[in-house]
Amino acid sequence: MTAHPFIERTLAGFADALEHAGTAERLADQKGLLQRLDPRVKVIGALLLILATMCSRRLSVTASMLIVAVALAWLTRIPLRIVATRVWLSVLFFTGCIALPAAFTTPGLAIWHLPLVGWQITHQGLFSAVQLILRAETSATFVLLVVLSTPWTQLLKALRALRIPVTAVVILGMTHRYIFLLLRIAGEQFEARRSRLVGMLSSEQRRKIATSSAGVLLDKSVQLSGEVFSAMQARGFRGEIYTLDEFQMNPRDWFALTVFGVVTIVALFLGMRP
């Protein structure tokens, strides 16, 4: 079946996405620290902590924020193995590859010479590469923590706290819901073609398979949107959408929010000193 890797890889990608979603749903049900907090506190807290990470000019502060993130992950009963595979390894690989040459190309004080080639690593370059990697890892970890500790429907409603309009939140929810349907439809397209393939295909034929699957998907998506609109109308939708406000802050939520705020302020103060 590896005669047509593009089909295999696409299907593998779809399966990966579905598995991703499944894990998220499972972890959101656990009884860790973050799961018990009001989703709005988590969203705002994450944004504050990410901001502090972004503004830091010192490696020590950025590294401390990463430690905060890891601590939160542990307290939330999210297995570090999952955080590592989802975020740390991929960020390390991606940003690491991008950051590594910067150690050599950034002008400044040389601190090490690579034997044989004579390239030099500068202090500034190394600092810059490490900062970049730490920032990317930390921010991605905070985002992951919010997403894994909050059911998607609650996360969307929490976005209202950021003054995002109701229409946008409803669209986000509907998009997420139909992604799974479209993944299934597209997956069926590819599997149907895979089972009918005999022998090697030309490059042109392979492209046609991919683009016509995409074309069918687009056609179906537009058609589906018309039918969904009818279904919405049938239940009273006339243009404005109304949703249920269900969040209530309790003392634990206020405390957590205060803690996030204090950590952010301290990090900003320490990190932004020149």
Partner: protein, 357 residues
């Protein structure tokens, strides 16, 4: 080319959010006016489609495989406004759910891929298609070229945003705080990847899906056909001009605020011994290199070389040079394509006038 968190400074991110916001607001207003209640399911399903299409592994000419964003076909089928919204929604779900692209960098990613991408596709597709009939092969070529160019312009915009980071945001010793590569590296690096794989992927998807729809469901191609009343036009509105102006004014202000003492030294200061002492003192006693970093010299000369000797000193400063680069980045790309769009609309209006309904 989803930019993750950490590569763009907070002030850059804020400016780019401010640049994207008016486009979002106007797009929502326009789409609501055209489609009213229907917009909710349409944008949702279109965004879901974009998300899934971005996961397709596409066989490319030459035997390799690549991915596409889908900005081409989304703009052609939905029109530029709805496309801006749909791609922005897809990008947000990617960022939240898959960590593909950062949260602070979300505004930048939307500006590059959703907004600039849709704008470029709209202009080029219409320009190249002209008034060809819906089933004409010329439209396939137009879609492919529009998709190819659009993703490369998006990549260029991202490269510029990344490339100005080291000059503007560094610590006292000169170490870049965010993206560490100057324009001379970031631009070629981004463009090489996109002129080849990503660009071809976008061209294949745009042209391929258009060809499919010509056979299967040509009514979906009416919105940007330029042929009839179903056509959804594009015009800059006042809020968007304001947003663009804000982008271009805030960029240097934000950058100035973030600039440190080290950055205000000019190239000549590296050679003057007294200035070198000052620099060393400010940089924790790390002696500055005897020559200004090569990048610094080359970049500043690009802007100051054409200035005559009698020009006031501030025009020759390096800071102005950097600020000019920043402004040039995002704002000018948008302006260039708007100009092109205006020209095309005027010429097509002249062609439409004689006797067409």
């Amino acid at each position: 080319m989803h930019i993750p968190d950490g590569y763009l400074s907070p002030s850059t991110c804020a400016v780019l959010y401010a640049g994207a916001a008016p486009f979002w607001v106007v797009a929502l207003r326009r789409v609501r006016r055209i489609m009213s209640a229907r917009l909710v399911p349409l944008i949702s399903l279109a965004a879901a489609f974009c998300f899934v299409v971005m996961m397709f592994n596409l066989p490319l000419p030459g035997g390799t495989t690549g991915h596409a964003v889908g900005m081409g076909i989304t703009t052609i089928v939905l029109g530029p406004w709805a496309s801006i919204l749909a791609i922005s929604v897809a990008l947000l779900i990617q960022a939240l759910f898959f960590g593909d692209g950062g949260i602070t960098a979300y505004g930048a990613n939307c500006l590059n891929m959703a907004i600039i991408g849709s704008l470029v596709v709209n202009v080029l597709y219409r320009a190249i298609s002209g008034r060809a009939s819906i089933d004409s092969p010329r439209r396939i070529v137009a879609a492919a070229i529009a998709g190819y160019v659009a993703i490369n312009v998006s990549a260029l915009s991202a490269a510029i945003q990344l490339g100005i980071q080291p000059a503007l945001f560094h610590d006292a010793s000169g170490a870049p705080l965010y993206a560490p590569y100057p324009l001379s590296i970031s631009v070629p690096a981004m463009l090489i990847g996109h002129l080849t794989f990503a660009g071809l992927g976008e061209a294949v998807i745009s042209g391929g899906i258009l060809a499919y729809l010509q056979r299967a469901n040509p009514s979906l191609l009416q919105a940007t056909s330029g042929l009839d009343a179903a056509d959804v036009g594009w015009r800059m509105t006042r809020p968007m001009w304001i947003g663009l102006a804000a982008l271009m004014i805030l960029t240097p202000l934000g950058l100035l605020a973030a600039g440190s003492a080290w950055g205000e030294w000019g190239v000549e200061d590296f050679k003057d011994p007294k200035a070198r002492e000052e620099i060393a003192a400010a940089s924790h006693n790390i002696a500055p290199p005897a020559e200004a970093p090569k990048g610094l010299e080359q970049l500043s000369s690009v802007w100051t070389a054409p200035m005559p000797d009698y020009a006031p000193p501030f025009l020759k400063s390096k800071e102005l040079g950097y600020i000019m680069s920043a402004m040039m980045g995002t704002g000018l790309i948008i302006l260039a394509f708007l100009f092109l769009d205006a020209v095309l609309r005027v010429t097509s209006r002249r062609r439409k006038e004689p006797g067409t309904p």
